[in-house]
Symmetry: C2
Subunit: 156 residues, 2 copies
């Protein structure tokens, strides 16, 4: 008989690991991810339960060339920063970021309590990631991993 | 300046439309979908806010050959039926359905209150859908639409 498919995401381990270059690691480790999609053996897209502690951010502000992203706010009050400015999202609100627009985004927790986001992103090959606010550029290798360089292409 | 990215999903219109053959329509129209991903112009995957009224189901029990699915229970108590039997999921629980396992699933609302699910599925081409409990088979056309036939291939 197959295994059961349902689970409580809060029972999974969480990690604040990041593949960012050293200069940007600390700012990015105030968020903790649980990999729900990987736990369910999904490969076409990732689903993370992301917990941002007060003062933390989801990531550096960024835009994908080929991969879509979607987030749903499960708990807390969070500030979404894009080229459109700052938006305050509370639990029950959501946002989507279509590939290729160049409109970069990040979520910042400026509240006093944890924020919980459900974060979905696909894994379309050949993706690249631009970071308007920091000297970083990302591109996806054939194995699916992202490699970061300076904006001028020189490696970290 | 770009438009804002955040929105309240409950402000979108909901629909109980289904592309199922006539014989299976009624059983499938006790659920109402809001298309959050489409609203955000996402194309690589779909995100629906699905409201199942008491007595309703998310879909006929089905399995995809190439597309992954993920659901998160936002509100209510729902029964997940797969080849592993019945699982009772409450708000805050989730489930994933990897492509190609053949393990079919559906969500049934046997409670007295509405169930709200966040449902994610990718749009990988060449998908087919099997339905172990009803005389139906689905396949994805090149335009992305699903066409349903009897199990022996004869059209409805």
């Amino acid at each position: 008989m197959p295994e059961k498919s349902g689970f409580d995401p809060l029972t999974l381990p969480e990690s604040n690991a990041t593949s960012y270059p050293e200069a940007y690691c600390a700012a990015n480790q105030q968020r903790w991810n649980r990999r729900l999609g990987n736990h369910a053996n999904l490969t076409n897209f990732g689903v993370n339960l992301t917990r941002i502690v007060p003062g933390g951010q989801s990531s550096c502000r960024h835009a994908h060339t080929r991969q879509d992203e979607f987030i749903y706010v499960l708990q807390g009050d969070v500030e979404l920063e894009t080229d459109a400015g700052v938006e305050r999202l509370s639990a029950g609100m959501c946002a989507g970021f279509a590939a290729g627009t160049g409109n970069a985004h990040r979520f910042v927790n400026r509240s006093a309590a944890d924020v919980l986001l459900l974060v979905v992103g696909d894994r379309t090959a050949g993706d690249a990631v631009s970071y308007p606010d920091v000297d970083m550029h990302g591109h996806m290798e054939p194995d699916g991993k992202f490699v970061f360089s300076h904006k001028d292409g020189t490696p970290y």
